[in-house]
Each structure stands twice: as C-alpha cells, then as structure tokens.
C-alpha cells in the first residue's frame, strides 16, 4: 500500500514548483533573437575636433565621382544645405560653409570605443559602418526584462557624446533599417515585423540607381507595396541579391554576424620578495613572464613587434624599457635574447621591487612559407632577421642600416641610409663620400687632376642649390680623390675617395 502510494507520487512536484502559466507565455522562445540597432547619423561630424562647432559645417564624401554633402551641421541645415547636395550648391546656399572631407578611420575608432561601451549590455556586439548592433535577447534575464534593459540603454545612450537613434527588431537588418530611417520603434514579435516596416519608403533600402528607377516605374513607394508582390517576380526584376536581402530583413533566412572582439593586450607582473638590482634576478623574472607571454600568443596565434618592461621602484616613479623587433616575433628564445641584450645595457635608476611585462599591440602570427618542391636547403630568413634584431637592440636603430639610392643628381642627395630602393647607377662615382665636403686649405698643392670637369648644379627648388665642377685627382700619397671646385666661392673641396 505504502509502496504504491510512493510510486504514484509525481516526483517533479515535490522538487520543483510548477511554473505559473502566465510567465510561461511571456517567456520568449530560445531561438528568438532581439537586435537593437544604434544608428549614429551625425558620427562624421561628431568625430571632428570641437573647434567652432557653431559654424556651418559639412562633411563631404565622394559619391559617383564627385564630392557631395554626407552630413550637414545644424547651422548649415538651417541655411538650406541638405545631405546629398554637391559642394557648389551648398556653397551657393551658404557661402561661409566649412567643408571637411570624411575621415572614416576616426569614425571606426569612435565606433570601436562605443562597442567597448556596449559590451556592458550584451556579449554580442556587431559593428556597422555607421552604427552598432546589439543582440539583447541573451541579456534579458540578467537585466530583469526588456523594458528595464531598454530604459537603461536609452538613459545611458543619452549621456553619450553622440546623437543616437535606437530601434529594436527581431532581425538585425530590420533593426538597422528602422534606426537608419530615424524610427525609434520597438518590435518584439517577428509577426509584427512586416507591418512595422511597411510604412518605410522604398528609397531607404540599399538599392542601386538602376533598381531605384525600376521601383519608381513599378509604382513601389513603401515597403508595403513590396510585400504585395510575389517573390519570384521580384527576384526576376531586382535580382536574387535583393530578395535575399528581403529574406534577411524579415528573418526568413538567418544572418550570422561577427561579434566585435577587443584587441588583445598582455600584461603580467612579477613581484620580487625584496628589492633587487641584480640583473640575474631580473632576468629570471623576465624569463618567467616571457614564458607566460609566449603561451598567451600561441593560444591566440599572435606575434609581436614591440614590448615594454616597466620597473617599479620603492620610492621613485616607475621606469620603462622598450624593446622592438624588426619582424613579428613569437619565439621565447628570440625574445629572451633581445631582452638580455637590452637589459645588459640598461642602467637601472634604482633597485626594482616589481616588474611588469606589457604588450599592447599584437599582430597575427604568419607561419613561414615553405616551398613544396624546394630541393636542398630552404632559404630561411629567420636567423638573419634575428641577427639584425640583435644588432639593433645592442647598438641602436640608427647604427644598423642599408643603403639606398635616391633620384637626385647632387651627391649629397643621391643616397640615404634606410630601406633599400632601386635607382640609377652611376659608375663614375667614388666609393667613399665624406660626411661633409672638406675645404682644401692650400688649394691643389701636390695634387694632379686626372679627369675633365663634370658639372653638377641645380637644386634651387629645395633650397640646396649647388654649382660645382667635379674632378678626379690623385695626391702625393697615391690617394685617388674626388674634388670639386665650387663655382660660387671659387674654392676647392674634397668630397670623396675612390677606394
């Protein structure tokens, strides 16, 4: 009897409270996504420096081969300047207009900062050319529901330095479209999406010029007109790219998006049990930290060209040691060799209490390419690059150079240290050049001129104007000299040696 009662007792009810029916209906299905689009219509203006913000300003962008107004400031808007105008039209309406070319790098940097800010609401933040997309469905429980989350997002967005339009929809494209049209609506349900989008003008869609003309000819004004047309006919007239876009807009086909990932940085500290200035102790600490760094880089397939060691002292401000490598580097042995060379030459200002290894900039790791059918030894540049790194670390960057030819006929300007380039060869030149021409005190005494003069002149265009007759000569000791006579001051100068 007792056993039957036990077997019949429903186990779930004793362990879990049954969920009330009303809350179940409120819970959204696991696959439903909610995208919030933050559109920044005035981003191009906002990233400019703040000087004379009241002046009528215009950010210009090349459109169809000529610069047109991209974003217009309020004062310019009052003067009648509109987005999409040519610059001539804009100047005609507002003569004191300040035109600034669009700087997309600054915009992207501002967007990346905003993406960092948006990371507090959701882990899925996606970058758009002039806005952000936030997937909020995954954060609803954490923030206590959509209404609270939206309220917080709106109040936080109002504190930003940017004008933000926020729209919410079940698909990323529809949220983006709504935000771009300046409709701050919230569409939670995917069934309501068609009617919510229906009122938007068809020109808001990313149409090509040809498609826009076609839409006008067909009498399509709003998206609602599109919904009424059969999709196979649309695909025939507008192309499958367009119907694909509509499918993504309405959520008929999924659209995976790339999440914004912040650039990795590495920082690790090592505390000494007591302050020390012994290089062996410090190097031991650096070895341990480098091992951590290499593990960090290997896991993420990264390499570095620059790292920094910060030394903390007890009663003084921290000192730094910077280390550069010519090529992206990911090996512990090479890093340690560079650190060792650098540390040997580093004068510590005071005993070190703690040190920190910091890398703020990483590069992608590019593995060495090996030829498939190479016979014999592969040409491996790595040891040579490491050798150059070693020299530069020990002697300084300026002490290790190549030579390059410059396109100039004046001897002082015809060469430079630095990365090699190709240029025209000149066989009649000496191998040695004096760092600066040396005036011959007693003229040509004991020397014998060996050649006809070679006139080198010119350079008024860059302020280094020369007029010289160059000769080859030999002196009493048998040295072959390259002399010139300056035609301006009639003096003789030694400029090189034929070694």
């Amino acid at each position: 009897m007792a056993r039957r009662a036990l077997a019949g007792a429903p186990l779930q009810q004793t362990l879990f409270e049954p969920t009330p029916p009303e809350s179940r209906s409120r819970a959204r299905p696991a696959y439903g996504a909610l995208w919030a689009a933050l559109h920044l219509p005035r981003l191009s203006l906002e990233v400019l420096s703040g000087e004379d913000a009241d002046a009528p300003r215009l950010v210009a962008q090349l459109q169809g081969g000529q610069p047109r107004a991209w974003v217009v400031s309020e004062t310019a808007h009052d003067a009648g300047v509109r987005t999409g105008m040519t610059l001539t039209e804009a100047y005609a309406l507002c003569p004191e207009l300040v035109v600034i070319p669009r700087n997309q790098e600054h915009e992207q940097a501002a967007l990346r900062q905003l993406a960092e800010w948006a990371g507090q609401y959701t882990s899925m933040v996606s970058l758009e050319p002039d806005g952000l997309l936030l997937e909020l469905a995954c954060s609803l429980r954490l923030f206590g529901g959509l209404d609270r989350l939206l309220a917080q997002l709106r109040s936080d967005a109002a504190k930003l330095d940017h004008v933000v339009t926020l729209a919410l929809a079940p698909t990323a494209q529809s949220a983006l479209l709504l935000a771009c049209c300046g409709e701050p609506v919230v569409v939670e349900d995917s069934h309501a999406l068609r009617s919510a989008l229906g009122g938007l003008p068809i020109t808001a869609l990313p149409l090509s010029a040809k498609q826009a003309v076609l839409a006008r000819r067909l009498g399509l004004r709003t998206l609602r007109d599109l919904w009424r047309l059969p999709s196979d006919g649309l695909a025939k007239r507008f192309g499958t790219g367009f119907t694909d876009y509509l499918d993504r807009l309405l959520g008929h086909t999924p659209e995976p998006r790339l999440a914004y990932q912040r650039a990795p940085t590495f920082s690790s500290r090592w505390a000494f049990p007591m302050e020390t200035d012994k290089h062996s102790f410090i190097f031991h600490a650096l070895e341990k930290l480098t091992a951590q760094l290499v593990r960090f880089m290997r896991r993420r397939a990264l390499s570095l060209t620059r790292l920094e060691v910060v030394f903390y002292h007890s009663q003084r401000p921290a000192s730094r040691m910077e280390l550069g490598s010519r090529q992206a580097c990911h090996e512990a042995a090479h890093l340690l060799m560079l650190l060792h060379e650098k540390l040997e030459r580093e004068q510590l200002v005071a005993p070190v209490v703690e040190l920190e290894l910091v890398v703020t900039e990483f590069h992608d790791f590019v593995p060495a390419a090996h030829a498939m059918f190479a016979d014999g030894m592969p040409q491996d540049d790595a040891p040579w690059e490491q050798f150059l790194d070693k020299l530069q670390t020990r002697l300084g960057r300026h002490a290790v150079t190549g030579l390059q030819l410059l396109d100039d006929h004046r001897p002082e300007r015809a060469w430079d240290y630095g990365a090699p380039l190709s240029g025209e060869a000149d066989p009649q030149r000496p191998a040695w050049l004096l760092p600066a021409p040396q005036r011959l005190a007693n003229s040509l005494q004991g020397m014998q001129l060996l050649s006809e003069p070679e006139r080198i002149e010119g350079g008024w265009w860059d302020g280094f104007d020369i007029r010289r007759d160059y000769y080859r000569a030999v002196d009493g000791g048998g040295r072959r000299l390259w002399l010139y006579r300056d035609l301006n001051d009639r003096q003789w100068y030694l400029h090189g040696l034929f070694a």
Binding site: W415, Q428, A499
Partner: protein, 204 residues
C-alpha cells in the same frame, strides 16, 4: 694508403706542408684579378677565413681589390656587411660596381663593439663577406673571429692602417699606391710562405 694520406692532407688545412704550395688545394674564392689569383696560394681569397689588408691610407684602391669578390657574393644572394666604415659609402658607386644594395648592411657601432658585431656577422650563414675597419684588435680576438668565419662559412676582411701587432689571420696583404694601379704584396699566408708582390691595374 698514399691516396688516403693525400686526401687527409687535402682536407685538413691546419697541416702545414712546407714550401709545397703548388700542391695546396685551390679552394679559395676568385678575387676577380687573374694575376692575384695566381699569386695567392689558395687560388683566391682563402675560403672561410680572416684576411688582413694593410693600407697606408684609405683611398688607394682597397675596395677596388675586393669589388669583384663582393659583387660575386652579392650576386649569389649572400649578404655583405660593412662594419665601421671610415667614410660614407656612396650608394650609386656601389650600385655601379654590381653590388646589390639590398644585400648590403652598413653597421656603425662604437669602436669597442666592432669585434662583437663582426663575430656575430661572420657566424651568420647568410652572410658571405664581412668588411671591417677596426682599430687595435687583439690577436686573441682575431682567433675568435677566425673560428666564427669557419662556423659561418664566410670571409672576413680586416682593413687596417697602422698595424701594431701580428694578427693570426689566414692571409695578410699590404697595398701600396703605384702609378699603374696598386702594388699588392702577400706578407703572410697560411698555405705557403712566399713573399711576393705584383702590380694590379685597378682603376676606380
């Protein structure tokens, strides 16, 4: 047996064979001057070794003497390293010599670091020739450089103006200016002990 012995003697350059220089293996690098190749016991610049050039003063044609060897090394894809040159190397002249400027490295270390840089460079297998203008190298340092040259299979050239001590190099040559070019005198060679001089016509 005799063949084995001959082979051993051929391979081992450390064994000195008296004045039988004619039997020494001709395994040096061509200097580009037939007369000089004839004169040098190894048939050219000694392979993987240190060479010392005594020059009364810079500009008698010392680089002209090394020019064909440098051009050949750079054409073969090896690097040529110049350490502490006394003047500015003039790029367009070097280009005209057939030296690949992309394979030329100019290092200007402080004088006390010259030997270190030279050893590092000689140890590199990608490096074919190292020219250095050092001051006051010690014999023991040069011995170390010689080992590095053997390890890296590269040719090291020391250009010296006021030689004070006898350095343990494989070949020592002195240059003197001459009306028809430059007089080259072989002062010391590890493969033979002939003291001979020729006049080479090197024109800039």
């Amino acid at each position: 047996m005799a063949a084995d012995l001959e082979q051993l003697l051929q391979d081992n350059r450390v064994i000195w064979r008296g004045r039988g220089a004619s039997q020494a293996p001709k395994r040096g690098r061509a200097t580009g001057f037939a007369a000089l190749d004839e004169l040098l016991p190894e048939g050219g610049w000694p392979a993987d070794a240190m060479v010392e050039l005594w020059v009364p003063h810079w500009g008698v044609g010392e680089l002209q003497l090394l020019r064909p060897a440098m051009a050949a090394a750079s054409a073969a894809g090896g690097w040529v390293v110049w350490i502490a040159p006394p003047y500015v190397p003039y790029a367009s002249a070097l280009q005209g010599w057939g030296l690949d400027l992309r394979r030329l490295l100019v290092v200007q270390p402080p004088q006390r670091e010259v030997a270190w840089v030279m050893e590092q460079a000689l140890r590199q297998t990608r490096c074919a020739m190292v020219l250095a203008w050092p001051e006051g190298l010690k014999p023991v340092t040069v011995r170390r450089l010689q080992l590095a040259a053997e390890a890296g299979r590269s040719l090291g050239i020391l250009l010296d103006r006021q030689p004070q001590v006898s350095l343990p190099v494989a070949l020592r040559i002195s240059l003197a200016p001459h009306e028809q070019g430059v007089r080259v005198t072989v002062l010391k060679s590890r493969a033979a002990c002939r003291r001979q001089s020729i006049i080479l016509d090197v024109q800039p």
